[in-house]
């Protein structure tokens, strides 16, 4: 670059003389000034003018705010970026106390004594340092977060000033907080049972992460008024919040009403909606933001945030919109879950009626025929009708299982608790399957030992045992053994059902308790794949477990454990 032509083109005759004066006085400090004077003598004024102008351009071309303060703290130089970020003109800052002007208070508005300022301290430490977590203040009274650094200037051994550089980190810090807010919202929603439970927590995190004092969620009613559904305030603002949250808002009134009317976010640079005007010493920073929650083209609610240091609410409407979208998706998912649960309920009742009613008619008439009431049956007629009855029973059990599963899903299944002697129950169950076992010449034995009593639902526990014993008999080849053993161990009743049957491959055991799952070895045997899923649910409802234990490579061994003392009223 041709410096001469640059100087000629850009600087007037006057500035050629004034620029070096200013720069000599301001940037380079006294040391530089003497050096410059020496240089001026040695190299000639013209050369220095060029160097100074170049330095000024350099200072003004960076986006980093830079200023110099003298040993008494007065600003002697400030660059373009620093003026733009703080909103002052050069004339307003030169000669002013830097700390009092730009760094006078903490983020919460409390005074920041100059002697505590880490930037000033670098002068005493005689070493430069960088600082995060500081805020600078604009001419309009708003703060902004900065990363800054202070570097002392030396005149020989004497520190005679400080160069301070700073960068407005509002955007990156807000982006961090917004991401954190969205992430935490997602976590709250994952844990919450309902939107009513989630909303106050989400409002609280809006305050924590996005830096507000109060947050309120408003919803319109059918009479054209908005009411506060949920709200949060930092402790100092609870009284104010209580007043505010009992108000109702009409369209167009206040920031909330305007956001509602316009369907766009509204930022008010003062606490406009406050019912009680802020008192001196409240320390409430200005700024109120109302963000409409727009759904299907209409405003379904407004999120109101009051009291933030953050300038203009930059980036915040977007963050709030994202969070409300998360809330809405959650609410819709809940609604569709509820609709699905209702459909399942409907299905359960349809299965109940439409399948059980014809089965009930078949079953009833079969009973009457088999009892021989309308007339005696010959042996063949009796055998055929018994086959019909057996299949009708099987169908009835399947419908019963489906019904039970449906009730479990709908959360409509409760246990009728009583003291149940498990030894007796096992004895009864084994008796029930003696005939079936005898047909296959299977040795079915029960070792019930001394009476073990659990608090449980007798009918359901009997169903669990029947499932296990009937499976064992079904999957054991002719001439095998099935053993049921009841014992007490570590405060639990332990029931073991062991068979010498076809066994279950280890890889399939994990799936065995899933609905409709049937082991690969179960081919050729009737079943729905619901029995073990139901058994597991019954054991679980009693606070117990069911598992397949190692049976040494032959057959299968199921182990059920039911705690002897379990809280009454458990449900599946």
């Amino acid at each position: 670059m041709d410096y001469r032509s640059f100087t000629r083109a850009s600087a007037s005759h006057e500035t050629v003389h004034c620029v070096p004066d200013r720069l000599l006085g301001c940037i380079a400090g006294d040391l530089a000034q003497s050096a410059a004077l020496a240089c001026a003598e040695a190299l000639g004024l013209r050369r220095l003018e060029v160097a100074a102008s170049e330095l000024q351009t350099l200072m003004d071309s960076t986006d980093e705010g830079i200023y110099r303060r003298d040993h008494e703290g007065r600003i002697t130089f400030i660059n373009r970026a620093a003026l733009e970020q703080t909103g002052y003109t050069e004339a307003e800052v030169l000669g002013q106390d830097a700390h009092e002007l730009l760094h006078h208070s903490h983020e919460d508005g409390s005074p920041y004594p100059a002697e505590q300022c880490p930037l000033t301290r670098t002068m005493y430490d005689r070493a430069g340092a960088r600082f995060g977590g500081e805020v600078f203040w604009r001419k309009d009274g708003t703060p902004f977060p900065v990363d800054c650094s202070g570097f002392p200037l030396f005149d020989g051994e004497t520190v005679n000033g400080l160069v301070i550089t700073f960068r407005d980190i509002t955007d990156s810090r807000q982006a961090e907080h917004q991401l954190a807010a969205q992430y935490r919202t997602a976590r709250i929603l994952a844990e919450a049972e309902s939107i009513q439970e989630a909303l106050p927590r989400v409002l609280r995190l809006c305050c924590d992460e996005l830096g507000w004092q109060m947050s309120l969620a408003w919803e319109p009613d059918e009479n054209g008024e908005m009411h506060c559904q949920s709200a949060y305030a930092r402790p100092a603002w609870e009284e104010q919040l209580a007043l505010l949250s009992h108000e109702s808002v009409i369209r167009g009134q206040g920031a909330v009403g305007q956001a509602w009317q316009q369907g766009q976010h509204v930022y008010v640079p003062g606490p406009a909606s406050l019912v009680r005007p802020p008192r001196p010493g409240d320390g409430l920073p200005p700024g109120e933001l109302a963000v409409p929650v727009v759904r299907d083209g209409r405003v379904a609610g407004v999120v109101q945030l009051i009291g933030s240091n953050l300038p203009r609410g930059d980036g915040q409407p977007e963050a709030i919109e994202t969070i409300s979208a998360q809330l809405f998706q959650y609410a819709e998912r809940k609604r569709s879950d509820e609709a699905a649960a209702r459909m399942k309920d409907q299905f359960v009742s349809t299965v109940s009626h439409e399948l059980r009613t014809p089965l009930a008619a078949m079953d009833g008439w079969l009973h009457i025929l088999l009892d021989g009431e309308p007339g005696p049956l010959n042996e063949e007629q009796h055998r055929f009708l018994t086959t019909v009855k057996r299949n009708s029973d099987r169908l009835m059990r399947l419908v019963g299982d489906l019904l039970l599963i449906g009730q479990m899903d709908a959360g409509r299944f409760t246990l009728e608790m009583a003291d149940v002697d498990i030894g007796d129950l096992v004895g009864e169950t084994v008796t029930l399957f003696t005939g079936m076992a005898a047909e296959k010449r299977i040795e079915l034995t029960a070792d019930t030992g001394p009476g073990v009593v659990v608090h449980g639902d007798r009918l359901r526990l009997s169903q669990l045992l029947s499932n296990l014993v009937s499976n064992a008999v079904k999957f054991t080849p002719e001439g095998g053994q099935v053993r049921v053993r009841v014992g007490e161990q570590d405060g639990s009743c332990q029931i073991e059902v062991t068979d010498s049957g076809i066994g279950i491959p280890a890889a399939e055991r994990a799936h065995l308790f899933e609905r409709f799952y049937r082991a690969s070895t179960a081919t050729g045997t009737a079943g729905t794949g619901l029995g073990l899923a139901i058994s597991k649910a019954i054991a679980g409802a009693h606070g117990g477990t069911i598992r397949i234990a190692d049976s040494g490579g032959r057959g299968t061994r199921f182990v059920v454990e039911i705690p002897l003392h379990v809280a009454a009223g458990a449900s599946l």
Partner: protein, 122 residues
């Protein structure tokens, strides 16, 4: 012998109930829906009503309530039959004023035992 009103829109079930009860010596009045059952109950005042829950025109719950609010049938013993095993339905049946609730499917013997039980209590 006692007179029993049997109301069920499902003919196969109604016939089954009628067969079992008439064979056991009871006199039977049959109804095919809730409205018909209400008229017959009010006119003839039987000793017992065996009513299905899921019936057209007037369901068993509402029929029971109406019978309880009608002077002639206020004390009529009522046995409800339903395929629903949901606790809420069973509770609703008793809340309406039923004396007993029989879940379908039931064996003819179970029906008979229940009928005798309700009659003996009244």
């Amino acid at each position: 012998m006692a007179t029993i009103l049997v109301a069920d829109d499902e003919q196969d079930i109604r016939e089954l109930v009628v067969y079992r009860l008439s064979r056991s010596g009871y006199r039977i009045i049959e109804a095919r829906d809730g409205e018909e059952a209400f008229q017959l109950a009010a006119d003839r005042v039987p000793d017992l009503a065996v009513l299905d829950v899921m019936m057209p025109r007037l369901n068993g719950f509402d029929l029971t309530e109406r019978l309880r609010h009608t002077p002639a049938t206020r004390r009529l013993p009522i046995l409800l039959m339903s395929a629903s095993v949901q606790d809420s339905d069973i509770a609703r049946g008793f809340a309406a004023g039923a004396d007993s609730y029989l879940i379908k499917p039931f064996t003819p013997e179970q029906l008979l035992i229940r009928v005798r039980d309700v009659l003996s209590r009244s």
